[in-house]
């Protein structure tokens, strides 16, 4: 069985937001809708201070609370672990948004653009009215993964089959792959390093693993 996960190496991340920009551009999300983003966290008090950059987004949980609560069955989990939203079913109740402990979901009530007024040509090309009034979130670039697999590519290894945020990461901090495959890059990283998952105590089984030290 395949289960796709993401590994974020906190030792590497510099908070540059390249993944944020890449996701925004590739997925054509409107201003402010950042399916992938990086937090700038400060820990401690002067002068004993640390600053850590933490990529966040939909955690594609093993037991997604968003899916449990979704009244329309728009939110589903695929066999490969990817949590999806069917925009044609979603009623936009935002119940999933309050159920998600990772603040990963967005609901946009009306189209909006980078600059006031008319959309730019690039925004027109990316326009998707189906996303208005419904919940949206990171898809792990599921279309790329499916198309890549159809073309015999391996997600996480071949860029064409890998989420754009991972492709874009200039620190080599983001990785993607099948955690059930012991030979995959993510399995290797998890075996070689200490990691945690965010809000593990909530029992959601998030699929983003944060590396913080060598094992």
């Amino acid at each position: 069985m395949t289960r796709y996960v993401m590994v974020a190496d906190l030792r590497r991340c510099v908070g540059c937001q390249t993944c944020t920009a890449a996701c925004r551009t590739a997925n054509g999300t409107p201003p402010g809708v950042q399916w992938r983003r990086v937090l700038d966290m400060e820990i401690g008090t002067y002068p004993d201070v640390r600053r850590t950059f933490v990529p966040v987004g939909c955690m594609h949980c093993e037991d997604p609370p968003c899916m449990q609560v979704c009244p329309s069955t728009a939110t589903r989990k695929r066999d490969d672990g990817i949590v999806t939203i069917d925009y044609d079913l979603c009623i936009g109740c935002a119940y999933c948004a309050v159920a998600c402990p990772y603040q990963a979901r967005y609901k946009v009530e009306r189209e909006n653009y980078a600059y006031d007024g008319e959309p730019m040509a690039s925004e027109v090309a990316k326009r998707d009215p189906d996303r208005i009034g419904v919940s949206t979130k990171c898809t792990f670039c599921v279309d790329r993964i499916d198309a890549g697999i159809d073309n015999g590519l391996t997600p996480g290894e071949d860029p064409e089959a890998t989420p754009v945020c991972v492709n874009s990461c200039i620190a080599g901090a983001l990785h993607f792959g099948d955690v059930e495959d012991p030979g995959s890059n993510v399995s290797r990283l998890l075996a070689e390093n200490h990691f945690f998952r965010m809000h593990e105590e909530l029992g959601t089984g998030p699929s983003i693993y944060y590396l913080w030290d060598r094992a």
Partner: protein, 910 residues
């Protein structure tokens, strides 16, 4: 040949060079003729030092292309009055009319003379972004070269915003326009405010991330915890502008708290001037006949010329030696016998008083920390180890020191650059694997090959193209308005020198004409491209005011902005994704761009230019034709003015000089010549090939990253630690200036010291605190920090840049220490006023722990009042409050980006 509409989706290779940390190679996705996405060019993953990735700025290129605020037609000003409050009354005009206006002015200049009564060029041109606009201006450099004298020295922030002292001294000491660590191999790096994770681009982030995971220890010494500080093993919060004291104390620890054999004595003996004897007047003691510097030979028990191969030189000591000293203007002191000391001994004596305890009081850093860092630096140097690189065995010294802006420019910059370089030399870590490396050259030639720029100079050192200071050749009348060739010998006189002089003097002198220099004049025609001096200069509002006086300004305009608000003609040029240019890539350049390949990459017109925007090359060709310069212009292109000579031993793609060529024809010829250059004439792939494939490279050996083998091969040494030549040049410059009645540069002349001493640098700024508002508790150092999302990109008008930047602390306000803010009654989000002696700016307080209580920080400078989108951000700018002054200008002509301010709370957070 742009991508026609309604074609299938394609991904076209191109490059992004919006900032000096590039270029990076990317692909742009074009759907039905519209650029919709950019992505890394993974075809270049093995070639590019950053895995073929692109940084966050590149993702803004799509918005940049379709930004509705773009200027899309040529425009002419209708209101002759200029000023911030004046409406320029721009009206659309045709290209024919616009170019006619410009050509009319230019032809008028050609008739009346290319220089004015002051001897200054009548045409000026300013470009921003650390030389990156040249990657977008097509063949315009060929037009300017064909034109003749042009003043490139009207600054837009250079000197205060760049690594200025490092540029000049770095090139002098080790061909290092910029200095970096050998990141893939370094094990210990002390970084004084070098924010490489934000300013080093993709390669910087990539290489340092790899190094961190490998186990590099980086100690970040800086007043505010930057992105780089965040990613470092240790943050040492140092008082602003005291870095030189920290570095001097490190020298003290190495020289006075460790045995000599703990240092790389072999390196010092063979590769530096440590052994050179210095006479009582502070100049090298020389052989009376050969005039060669002497050193003390242990074997013979006497002084011998420095190049005596059999000599067993003493590295330290005081010796009775006969000889001569040569001072300024050929002044000679003859010594039948004199007490001479080695340069190394003088160094030891010089830093004796600079103990960590001494530095601790200045830097507000515990002496134990300074001592520990120095010891760790030494411990990690692995003195004696070697490494094999490309089959060659080289010394391996995995320790480095890097300096950031405001440390390596302005007063104190010389001291920091010198100490850093000497520290590296003491452990043999200069220009060797793992150590501190220069990256590129701009003042030495050839610019595209750092090692080839090494030529033998006097006294066993590298040659350096100083501007002359001798009585015969010193230029009493500067070539251009910033007087770089008159005042700054280190600035040299290459195409980059004008922009590396004291560029702000061109502005400063307008208010205060300098005594005994030609009268400051305004250029008749001023070209502006990818620069916004009215925002990016220190004292930006003051500069904007002065710009209003310029009689005829031609701005290549992306959107309206604060500078082209003062323009007479606006020209819309095809932007990044709309036009064509071939760029040299690879080798070593900028801070972290150490490639294992070199070659060329194409920027191609992936989409049609919007509106009436024109390809820059077409504009340049049109101007050349209308000014009667077409032949010269073509000739300049043929000779390599756009980066590649069009003919070589086995090929000739030169353009016929007597006729006009289209942009595609020109770039096809350039591409073919580039292919031929790269392959020794075997390949002649042209524009079509590059459009498909994006880039062509050949291997660039890693051994070429390191200068030491080249010096050794040529029998040369680093001009360290003693700065005899600078001392002499400074004295000569003083003579020339004083002979010409110029006294106003006297403070700067004091920088020319053979061994730089600590001066109370912070006091240069804080002396004026009594002029500030409020009491001492309200007084702060105001600093800035690099923003990857914005730096150099000219993208303040790009929504995506703003949105992504705001995810990072400080981009939406002014960072203040949380505890200190509490004392002042300032809460997170409160609007605060930041006032210097000059004026005030305001913004929201962002309370953080990672900043010294005596310091506040503004990331990015955003006092825009004209640029669409940016003007609505309501962000502060330190450029508004930073005074531009001669007092704060050092000998290289640079300032430092800091200012003393008072802070007061205006209103509560909303």
């Amino acid at each position: 040949m742009t991508e026609p509409a309604h074609t299938p989706t394609r991904k076209l290779p191109t490059y992004c060079y919006q900032c000096v940390a590039g270029p990076d190679l990317l692909k742009v996705k074009v759907e039905n003729g519209v650029a919709t996405e950019v992505e890394p060019n993974f075809d270049a993953a093995e070639v590019h030092p950053g895995g073929g990735k692109i940084c966050v700025k590149a993702y803004g290129l799509v918005q940049k292309t379709y930004n509705p605020h773009r200027v899309l037609t040529p425009m002419r000003r209708t209101n002759p009055k200029k000023g911030r409050k004046e409406d320029p009354g721009f009206v659309p005009i045709s290209w024919d009319v616009a170019l006619g206006d410009i050509a009319g002015k230019l032809n008028g200049i050609r008739e009346s003379g290319l220089t004015d009564a002051s001897g200054y060029p009548r045409v000026a041109a300013s470009f921003g972004g650390g030389g990156t606009p040249q990657a977008y201006m097509g063949t315009f450099p060929a037009f300017l070269a064909a034109w003749g004298p042009v003043d490139f020295g009207l600054g837009s922030g250079q000197g205060v915003k760049c690594y200025h002292s490092e540029h000049l001294y770095g090139e002098f000491w080790h061909r290092a326009f910029t200095v970096g660590s050998d990141t893939p191999l370094t094990r210990y790096l002390v970084s004084f405010g070098s924010n490489v994770e934000a300013s080093g681009g993709v390669c910087g982030v990539w290489r340092h991330a790899e190094a961190r995971v490998r186990g590099l220890k980086r100690v970040q010494v800086e007043p505010a915890l930057s992105i780089t500080g965040a990613c470092s093993a240790e943050w040492v919060p140092i008082r602003p502008k005291t870095d030189a004291a920290f570095l001097f104390a490190m020298l003290h620890v190495l020289l006075h708290e460790h045995p000599r054999n703990a240092l790389d004595v072999e390196f010092l003996l063979g590769n530096t001037a440590s052994t050179y004897l210095v006479g009582p007047n502070g100049y090298y003691l020389r052989h009376p006949d050969t005039r060669q510097p002497l050193l003390w030979d242990r074997r013979s028990g006497g002084a011998v010329p420095f190049d005596d191969e059999d000599a067993q030189a003493e590295i330290e000591g005081r010796f009775d030696v006969p000889g001569i000293e040569i001072g300024p203007d050929e002044k000679v002191w003859s010594h039948p016998s004199c007490k001479a000391k080695t340069g190394f001994t003088l160094l030891c004596e010089h830093v004796l008083a600079y103990t960590p305890e001494w530095a601790a009081r200045i830097c507000d850093v515990p002496a134990s920390t300074i001592r520990r860092v120095a010891c760790e630096f030494l411990e990690h140097a692995a003195i004696g180890e070697t490494i094999e690189v490309d089959g060659a065995t080289l010394p391996f010294r995995p320790v480095a020191i890097t300096l950031g802006k405001t440390v390596n420019n302005g007063w104190g910059g010389y001291e920091c650059c010198w100490a850093r370089t000497v520290l590296s030399a003491l452990v043999g870590a200069l220009e060797v694997p793992g150590g501190t490396l220069g990256t590129t050259v701009r003042l030495n030639r050839p610019a595209d090959d750092r090692l080839d720029s090494v030529a033998p100079g006097p006294d066993g050192f590298m040659a350096y193209p100083f501007n002359p200071t001798d009585a015969k050749n010193w230029r009493a009348s500067p070539k251009i308005r910033n007087a770089y060739d008159t005042l700054v010998p280190l600035a040299a006189d290459t195409p980059w020198s004008q922009a590396l002089g004291p560029t702000h003097l061109a502005w400063l002198f307008q208010d205060n004409p300098p005594d005994n220099l030609p009268r400051p004049t305004l250029p008749d025609v001023w070209f502006l491209y990818r620069t916004n001096p009215a925002i990016s200069s220190w004292d930006a509002p003051g500069v904007a005011e002065k710009m209003a006086a310029f009689p005829f300004v031609v701005a290549f305009a992306y959107t309206m902005d604060e500078s082209n608000h003062m323009a007479d003609i606006l020209l819309p040029e095809c932007t990044d994704l709309e036009s064509t240019q071939l760029l040299r890539i690879g080798g070593t350049k900028y801070i972290e761009q150490f490639w294992r390949y070199q070659g060329f990459a194409l920027r191609q017109s992936a989409v049609e230019g919007r509106g009436e925007a024109r390809d820059f090359t077409e504009i340049a060709t049109e101007l050349a034709q209308r000014t009667g310069l077409l032949e010269t212009y073509n000739d300049k292109i043929n000779r390599g003015a756009v980066g590649v000579k069009l003919s070589g031993e086995r090929y000739d793609f030169g353009l016929a000089a007597d006729r006009r060529h289209g942009s595609d024809d020109i770039w096809d010829a350039v591409c073919r010549a580039a292919s031929a250059e790269l392959t020794g004439g075997e390949s002649t792939d042209g524009l079509a090939w590059y459009r498909e494939n994006g880039f062509k490279v050949e291997p660039f050996p890693q051994t070429k990253w390191y200068l030491l083998p080249k010096l050794q091969e040529m029998g040369l040494r680093f001009e360290l630690p003693y700065q005899e030549r600078l001392k002499r040049i400074g004295a000569e410059l003083a003579n020339r200036l004083h002979e010409n009645g110029i006294e106003w540069w006297d403070t700067q002349l004091k920088e020319y010291q053979a061994l730089p001493a600590w001066k109370d640098f912070p006091a240069l700024w804080s002396d004026g605190d009594s002029e500030l508002k409020g009491d001492e508790a309200q007084h702060f150092w105001l600093l800035t920090s690099r923003s990857m999302q914005y730096a150099w990109g000219g993208n303040a008008a790009i929504q995506l840049a703003n949105e992504t930047a705001r995810n990072i602390s400080g981009h939406d306000g002014i960072i203040v220490n949380r505890g200190k803010a509490g004392e002042l009654g300032i809460a997170d989000g409160d609007v605060i006023e930041v006032r210097s002696e000059l004026r005030a700016t305001r913004g929201r307080a962002v309370l953080r722990e990672g900043i010294r209580p005596d310091t506040i920080l503004m990331i990015g400078q955003f006092d825009h009042w004209k640029t669409p989108f940016a003007r609505d951000l309501k962000m502060p700018s330190m450029n508004t409050v930073t005074p531009m002054s001669l007092k704060l200008t050092d000998a290289t002509g640079s300032g430092a980006d800091l200012v003393r301010v008072s802070v007061s709370r205006l209103e509560a957070a909303s």
